[in-house]
Symmetry: C2
Subunit: 129 residues, 2 copies
DNA sequence: GTACGATCTAGAGCCGACTCTAGGTCAAGT
DNA sequence: ACTTGACCTAGAGTCGGCTCTAGATCGTAC
């Protein structure tokens, strides 16, 4: 199990080196990142897995503050499963709300695409919007 | 057709009065907003419809710059349908990409919710993450 | 005619989430 | 020994998208 550097983690997670240091400062690592003798970060596979979870949550619009609260709960250990569940359900709601909005937007786009395709196809422009 | 004030538009679109003035400054009104004798904005029903389209696009993550480009095309009149179509297709891609990510996130959330429900249901905590 | 709330403009401020800089230290190759 | 590049910390800067402020004007109700 070779020591994993921050650069490798950046490659594997798609996060920038800067973002990784930022995330650590912000307290969203479930376990403190180890250091080698020279003071450099040494990541574990678990750290990477956690970071991947975080990237999925972030990409779905979970705010840093919520991720930090969740991280705090995980770091604090067993016994707070109810709170974790509540945070997850809260985000589930955010995600489904977003999906609804995206669906509404896709409907609009498809409608408008249809209009423009007709216009272009028939060479008879009708509608200005 | 009573003159519609900015406050009424705010109520009807869900945008703030500040945001409405900001949008206008940023050039994302398809038609210039009219003014009354005292210099106050007078919106039309068309303006409101356009703003509603904009809110749908914004809510689905279309950047202001893209909305502005689209607005410019619409304002410029017929003959640029191909470009409008291209912008819409570009955003369609953004939207479907987002949906994929949201779906991935929902899978993760549902998995984790399942884990925590089991933990809480059986009173036998197993997994710390 | 006066009070008061809605509106006006121009411009500053804010927030989230990074991103970058400065000024160093560490480690691997030659 | 020296070069080079990845890494370190602390803190400043950036960007998008609003949001708020100041100071003035408008317009309706009394």
């Amino acid at each position: 199990m070779a020591s994993i550097t921050i650069g490798e983690v950046a490659e594997r997670t798609g996060l920038s080196v800067h973002a990784l240091r930022f995330y650590e400062r912000e307290g969203i690592m479930a376990n403190p990142v180890a250091r080698n003798a020279g003071g450099r970060r040494v990541y574990s596979e678990d750290d990477i897995e956690w970071l991947i979870v975080c990237t999925v949550l972030r990409a779905s619009g979970m705010p840093m503050t919520a991720i930090r609260r969740y991280t705090d709960l995980v770091r604090h250990g067993e016994g707070n499963e109810k709170e974790r569940l509540a945070l997850l359900r809260e985000h589930e709601q955010r995600v489904t709300d977003q999906m609804d909005q995206l669906t509404r937007c896709l409907d609009l786009i498809h409608y408008k695409i249809g209009v423009y395709e007709d216009v272009l196809g028939t060479d008879s422009p009708i509608n200005g919007t």
